[in-house]
């Protein structure tokens, strides 16, 4: 990779094999991950895995991906010091990784561009995707427009309503948006429906999965394409502060932005990794998305991981004010990082997240996504714990434009 100004090397894309934290041939991170899917999908998953395995070692693929990240997504994204916001964090220095500044406004674009290129290599002309907040749907519709692919997005009917702006964006970009009215009518049901489409149309269609959950190889592929966040951030924070941060914070829905920023720091044992899940109305209320903090080990959407489930394995519906975190499962690598103790996961309530949302807007002139606001709220608390000498890197996974409807209601604007 002697590409002038390139941000990715082969090793950056696929840090695999170098570390001890890669899944085995069956996609297992310890006891987590694997494949629990209808047999009909196995050949398609095998094909995706094989094409990706080749692509990640192919200089031409890396060059194409790198080119799109730089000239289309707007990478590298900057770091921003937020001193006025940090005053509320006991004076600890909070630094934001600005994924909100990418094209389409969230970290989702990184994975989407990578998988869209894979779709071409798979020789498929149609992509489908699930979306919660609509950010993954918008990013997928965007990449589909760019590469001339047919695009169908499954979105829970409840989410269609709370993220109406993103539904309009997807339509404008030429995608078909299918509101899903089964079950909780949110992200989990959109994923079920997308799998049903995939098993029916697998010859023509790639399922452009949006987070680090699902059956192998999705947790690995999505992580590798999101990995650029941490690769850049590690380099940038060393330049900015002269040292590694004390902690890296990210919101966890399915876990893609979190694993994206965590992964480059996993070997830095002194850097704490903190993931923040949506505590909704609080643990006691039962209305939350505390999969890692309050869930139990089970199987959901093709993968063994932590799940919100009852005593007989029925999925319990999650709740969060943020559609992107409103999911009763989580990526298997996070389950593994939790059990190994390498990462710590905590909950942030709707109210705490909205307070951080408003605080960042007022103190720094940045309106974050409500998902990302969970990480901001977590960092405020962590800063008070770690003290004024601490440096905390927060992945600002997306911007809040899509959340104006929710904010107007919440704050009576």
């Amino acid at each position: 990779m002697a590409n002038e100004g390139s941000i990715l090397t082969a090793a950056d894309l696929a840090g695999n094999g170098v570390r001890g934290d890669d899944p085995d041939v069956h996609g297992k991170f310890g006891i987590f991950g694997g494949r629990y899917v209808p047999e009909a999908l196995i050949p398609a998953l095998d094909e995706v895995a094989a094409v990706y395995e080749k692509a990640k070692h192919d200089a031409e693929f890396i060059r194409e991906f790198d080119h799109l990240l730089r000239t289309y997504a707007g990478r590298p994204t900057t770091l921003t010091d937020v001193p006025r916001f940090s005053e509320q964090a006991g004076g600890a220095r909070i630094v934001l990784k600005r994924e909100d500044l990418t094209h389409t406004g969230a970290h989702k674009i990184n994975n989407v561009l990578g998988q869209a290129l894979l779709t071409k290599r798979l020789g498929k002309k149609r992509v489908i995707a699930e979306t919660g907040a609509g950010q993954h749907g918008v990013a997928t519709a965007t990449a589909a427009a760019l590469l001339g692919l047919e695009c169908v997005i499954y979105m829970g009917a409840v989410d269609c309503e709370r993220q109406a702006l993103n539904v309009a964006r997807m339509k404008l970009l030429g995608a078909t948006v299918v509101p899903v009215t089964n079950g909780s009518q949110t992200l989990k049901d959109a994923i079920n429906e997308a799998f049903r489409d995939w098993v029916t149309n697998v010859d023509s269609t790639h399922y452009l999965f949006g987070t680090v959950a699902g059956p192998h190889p999705f947790p690995e592929i999505v992580r590798d394409f999101a990995r650029v966040i941490g690769v850049e951030a590690r380099r940038q924070i060393l330049e900015l502060t002269g040292r590694l941060p004390d902690a890296v914070c990210a919101a966890v829905g399915g876990g893609s932005n979190a694993i994206g920023v965590f992964h480059a720091f996993i070997d830095d044992q002194d850097v704490r990794l903190h993931g923040y899940e949506a505590a909704g109305h609080g643990l006691e209320s039962g209305e939350h998305a505390l999969t890692l903090t309050a869930g139990s080990v089970g199987v959901l959407h093709g993968s063994r991981t932590y799940v919100l489930q009852d005593d007989e394995g029925q999925t319990i519906e999650s709740h969060s004010i943020s559609a992107g975190l409103d999911y009763p499962g989580v990526g298997p690598e996070h389950a593994w990082l939790k059990d190994s103790g390498r990462a710590t996961y905590r909950g942030v309530t709707d109210d705490e997240a909205m307070a951080a949302f408003s605080l960042l807007a007022r103190t720094e002139g940045i309106i974050p996504a409500i998902e990302s606001s969970h990480a901001l709220a977590g960092a405020l608390e962590l800063g008070r714990e770690l003290g004024p000498e601490a440096i905390i890197l927060v992945n600002l996974s997306g911007r809040g434009d899509k959340d104006m409807g929710t904010a107007m209601k919440y704050f009576n604007l």
Binding site: I42, G183, L300, E312
Partner: protein, 265 residues
């Protein structure tokens, strides 16, 4: 208790295919499910699959999703599934449970296998349990003395078919098409080829499911398969019936038609 082996041996001796009916437990009601399954047996079904209702049935089309949703709303629990199996097995039909993996995993594989055997169940069909992940379940089933049925699909490579059939006992479930459950206008032509390919790797009976909805389709499938599996078409009739008694009559009529179909070949 009627075993799968006896069922298929008898069907073979009669020179016909076996008829396998699927209904979810707890639908249209807890007792209604047992009564509907008994009506199927009376009308000529040899094997009954009792579906264990699951919140995220990603292999199922709208008909089964709807029935399962109603069943869960009726408060169906695994104990109800076991009671349903007990009631259906008492009719003399070989009775299996069809279930996504997570409820079994959560319940405990050994406990589930034992309770199912005690209820008179003869085995399970697990559509989302791949051979790679199936070891604990096969061990638990073997020690409880129940069969394990897994699925092959039109997309399965020879190597996959071999891996799947090596995990099967009782019979092999051949999914006729790439897609979710639901009755279709025609049974996919891929089904026959898949049955042929599967037979190259196993001496077990091969049953075809997904998309079979009429007696004529059952007759067609019976020309090349050892068993014909029907689910959504029965459930559709239960959903459309004005009350449970009418539903029972309606599914019995369809089952009779199918039972003739599997004997026509």
């Amino acid at each position: 208790m009627t075993t799968l082996q006896t069922v298929f041996a008898k069907a073979k001796a009669d020179n016909r295919a076996a008829l396998v009916g699927y209904l979810p437990a707890g639908f249209p009601s807890k007792d209604g499910a047992i009564a509907a399954a008994a009506a199927l047996v009376e009308a000529g079904c040899d094997v009954i699959e009792i579906g264990l209702p699951y919140s995220d049935p990603l292999m199922d089309g709208p008909t089964i999703q709807d029935a399962v949703h109603r069943s869960l709303s009726n408060g169906t629990r695994i104990a109800d599934v076991m009671r349903t199996v007990e009631g259906v097995a008492a009719t003399g039909a070989a009775t299996l449970v069809m279930t996504y993996w997570n409820p079994v995993d959560r319940y405990g594989a050994e406990r589930f296998a034992r309770d199912l055997a005690n209820a008179g169940g003869v085995g399970t069909i697990t559509p989302d349990l791949t051979p790679e992940e199936s070891e604990p379940w096969r061990a638990a089933s073997a020690s409880a003395g129940i069969d394990t049925v897994f699925l092959v699909a039109p997309s399965s490579t020879e190597a996959r078919i071999k891996a799947v059939v090596d995990c099967c006992t009782g019979f092999v479930y051949a999914a006729s098409l790439m897609g979710v459950t639901g009755a279709r206008e025609t049974v996919n032509v891929a089904a026959e080829g898949l049955v042929k390919r599967t037979r190259e790797h196993t001496g077990l009976p091969v049953c075809v499911g997904l998309g079979v909805g009429t007696g004529a389709q059952a007759a067609e499938v019976a020309t090349y398969a050892d068993g014909v599996i029907v689910g959504s078409a029965f459930i559709r009739r239960l959903l459309d019936a004005p009350d449970e008694a009418a539903g029972r009559e309606s599914v019995a009529a369809l089952a009779r038609d199918m039972a003739q179909g599997v004997r026509r070949s």
